[in-house]
């Protein structure tokens, strides 16, 4: 099950957002409402599963092209 973990710093300004179980860019799309509510994201780092899904999509594309 996809999960969003928000950790709030006591400075009242910084919120760390971590996502688990999302694949590809869907995590950015499905958690955008939090950025709208809490403020704009900075220092966004994509985890390996983001790239894994993109790599998988490319592999699928390659297989289709071969047919």
């Amino acid at each position: 099950m996809p999960e969003i973990i928000l950790t709030f710093e006591w400075d009242g300004k910084t919120v760390k957002k971590e996502t688990k179980g999302f694949t590809g860019p869907s995590c950015v799309e499905k958690t955008k409402f939090l950025e709208d509510a809490l403020g704009k994201a900075s220092n966004r780092r994509k985890k390996s599963d983001y790239y894994e899904e993109k790599e998988k999509n490319r592999e699928e594309d390659r297989l289709r092209n071969r047919d």
Binding site: M1, P2, E3, I4, I5, L6, T7, F8, E9, W10, D11, G12, K13, V15, K30, F33, L34, A37, L38, G39
Partner: protein, 133 residues
């Protein structure tokens, strides 16, 4: 007479602000007004500042003035906290309030979307929300 220090905050959701104020010790003590109301000083003197969300001085402390949050045209709230009360409700308190505001704002967003969540603290005692989509 202690002057008020007026600061425009990034707070824009009154309901989440009320919940945050309750979490920092003012449960059942927060006044909410659609039309901004006057703040009063520790001697009962009416001050020129007005606010939509108010902590009356009897809840703030002895010899304290009202604390208020006024909704601005920008959609954000401006805090009114007297110089006298800055000693207890200064930057550290305001940072804590802003932190809890963020927590309560995020919880509201989840509730609107029927997203289940759990609240706890991490190993550094920072508030943490885990939501399950």
């Amino acid at each position: 007479m202690s002057h008020y220090v007026d600061i425009e905050t990034n707070i824009c959701d009154g309901e989440a602000l009320v919940r945050a104020l309750e979490r920092v010790g003012f449960k059942g003590q927060v006044e909410v007004h659609e039309i901004a109301q006057a703040l009063y000083g520790y001697q009962g003197d009416r001050r020129q500042q007005k606010a939509n969300i108010i902590l009356r001085r009897e809840h703030v402390g002895s010899a304290s003035n009202d604390i208020g949050f006024e909704l601005m045209e920008s959609g954000r709230y401006r805090s009114h906290i007297s110089e006298f009360d800055q000693s207890k409700y200064g930057q550290e308190w305001q940072d804590k309030l802003n932190t809890y505001y963020g927590v309560e704002k995020a919880k509201k967003e989840y509730e609107v979307r029927n997203i289940k969540y759990e609240e706890d603290v991490d190993e550094k005692e920072r508030p943490r929300l885990r939501a399950f989509l």
